[in-house]
Symmetry: C2
């Protein structure tokens, strides 16, 4: 692994990142990427599903659909048409903490897009006559999860793994759906959409001063609102089984890890990467390649700002399900027995390669800028990440694994028969 | 839509593409992208699932798994480790015509990756003792499709829509699986893996002369083999229903369109785009947004080299399934009644924006170079594509739609109850 060449490659495109906070609290982070033609934005608004009122889980998600059905002077059709005319590739996502809006376009269209998003965030129409279509869309989305047991496994595992309400699914539940009214969505908007706590990441062929001016015009007058509390609840249950007549048994399991800002985050990341990063990682070779126990297996580090878990999934035939769970648990626990230097070297090589490729995508950068600011309250340059990865040693990872061993698992399975957790 | 600015933006990064054919027939297409740090390759080998022997469907797909379990002097573990150490992000895909291998890495690792892929393509170990793991992996993959009715709908729709064997699923079937032996895979390799008919697209921070030399060293000695025939069979049935106790009804439908090399391809693409490109497209607004009939709906142009279809999917509640199918068919047929200039303008804007963003990705470019060479036998520069999109008019699209109307549908549904096709 030639670190010298990587360092040179990275430094060839020095990152040019600026931050600016508006008076109303809105945080803007801009990265100028002179070698691309595109520009992308990623905005985190503190309006995620943890703010759904009790008995109305799914409200934030439904609001994210209603939100783009007209804004300012434009009705739903005009708004979609205008954004399509700008060639904007866009999406919305509702997570635990945030409702996020993303967009990417040719750079010279960015300013117009930002002005329209000013309308969407501050002056959405939220038309009552489209509420029924939104409600039915939410119902169909929930039904589609029932027909996708792999996805359902991950959703139900997260629900049981994280402290409530952090693991609750943004889609809500069929049971809560009748309780959500047009008024619920309007209230969610009134309570949660605010500039203080919102973070806007922008990357691409842009000029920082121009971006600051345009964002100021579009969102500078957005009035502040009080910050809402989230009271943490319980986790669990630790063992659960959903009986379903599926062709495969779907296994979800998780165990405690560290939050994103934790100094041990990169050690935790490397430990998960030894298990599941790349084709030569342990779970892939032991469970899938050598034994053919399953077609799909993964473990990943899922770190939020305040807590983190390692989340694993395996899908396998009903006959081999018990063996798959046993072997997977064994591999997870075996991590504490030792890690080869060559395993760490591969993780480092893969991570550095990803870093270099990541810096070529305006979309990836915009998203990463906003997310990092939220999680760390600072910009972590790719060069800093590279240094942190370089600093990892077998000992530092093992020390972490011994402090936070794979134990006390939360296990959720979906299939025709329940499994024994032999841990 | 400011075409002037788009032209300027595109011409700022003139494409630098070269082709080179080796004596053994291997076709190489290289695009130099000086502004990126990465390099990517995409190789099409004429070893797709249409060459699976009768009664052994799934063999090509299983071979693609066995193929990377050791090559040259390296066993399976050493091969995976070496590629992970190079930071290579890789995948394999089996389609109708081709088995494809893809990779992306930091540019200075490309040569080493290509040398190793020379071993994989010419000197794979194909270890017999790993055949059972491969077979079980294939079985699990097939079982996972049974648990994913949306995916199953698309697979079963393609099977019925295209002339056999072109629509057959690469994954094969559980029925054929016991017929496939280690020897079947070895034969498939011996028969199909050859340089004549293979196409290698490479894009990124590369030097064309250096790439030609390295590829020549890696694959220049690969011996030619005879070209295999595919005898076309039947299509259909046109109406089919798979009864399954699903939460949603999954609707797949298709109708005839043109092949990729057809002069009308862009008219066909635009017609599908009016239906389903972007948030303001007809199916999305009529079926999903206005009526809330379903959560997921799409129509896309699926053009192979010799035939093409428009492929549609809708997933909806069992109660609204009949209405969803009726409204969808109505929208498809209504296309012949007229298209607004504004609808065409939006399609053009979206397409041009995608083109500009596409040229920033070495991975996207490598893939596109190889695919275009196969489908057209030439390189189509992004500028040419832009011109073809510019040349589209409402009249040219309508003329196409009248010549190839949405009719004679193939319809496949999965759910608890069958539907009426009122077309």
């Amino acid at each position: 692994m030639s670190v010298g060449i990587l360092r040179k490659a990275l430094s060839m495109t020095d990152q040019n990142v600026h931050t600016h906070q508006f008076e109303n609290g809105l945080m803007l982070i801009v990265e100028e990427m002179p070698d691309v033609q595109s520009a992308a934005f990623s905005m985190l608004i503190p309006a995620g599903c943890v703010y759904d009122p009790p008995g109305q889980h799914g409200a934030a998600s439904m609001l994210s659909d209603l939100l783009t059905r007209g804004a300012g002077e434009r009705d739903s059709r005009e708004l979609s048409s205008t954004l399509d005319n700008l060639g904007l590739q866009r999406s919305e996502h509702v997570g635990a903490r945030h409702t996020s809006v993303y967009g990417a376009a040719v750079a010279d269209k960015l300013n117009e897009c930002l002005r329209i998003y000013g309308d969407i965030l501050m002056r959405p129409v939220l038309p009552e006559d489209q509420f029924e279509a939104v409600r039915m869309g939410a119902e169909h989305s929930l039904l589609s999860i029932e027909d996708d047991p792999q996805r359902k496994t991950m959703i139900e595992l997260r629900r049981r793994s994280f402290t409530r309400p952090w693991g609750l699914p943004a889609d809500g539940s069929l049971a809560d759906l009748p309780n959500i009214t047009h008024n619920s969505l309007r209230s969610h908007f009134e309570n949660c959409f605010r500039p203080n706590g919102s973070i806007l990441g922008i990357a691409g062929k842009v000029d920082t001063q121009e971006v600051i001016q345009v964002v100021g015009e579009a969102l500078g007058e957005w009035p502040q609102k009080p910050v809402l509390d989230v009271s943490p609840g319980e986790t669990g249950p630790k063992r659960d089984f959903i009986e379903q007549d599926t062709a495969q048994t779907h296994i979800g399991l998780s165990y405690k890890s560290v939050a994103y800002p934790d100094p041990d985050y990169y050690n935790a990341w490397a430990a998960a990467s030894v298990l599941s990063g790349g084709m030569s990682a342990r779970l892939f070779t032991e469970v899938r390649e050598k034994r053919g126990l399953c077609y799909s297996i993964s473990a990943s580090q899922a770190s939020m700002k305040h807590e983190g878990r390692v989340i694993c999934y395996a899908g396998t035939s009903n006959e081999r399900a018990q063996e798959t769970l046993d072997v997977t648990l064994q591999e997870l626990k075996r991590l504490g027995d030792g890690i080869e230097q060559s395993e760490l070297d591969r993780c480092k090589a893969r991570a550095k390669s990803s870093l270099i490729m990541q810096q070529e995508s305006s979309r990836g950068r915009a998203s990463s800028l906003a997310r990092n600011w939220f999680l760390l309250g600072e910009i972590r340059m790719l060069e800093e990440v590279r240094e942190k990865i370089d600093a990892l040693t077998v000992d530092s990872i093992l020390e972490y694994v011994h402090r936070m061993p794979a134990e006390d698992f939360t296990v959720l399975t979906i299939g025709p028969k329940s499994l024994e957790v032999n841990s």
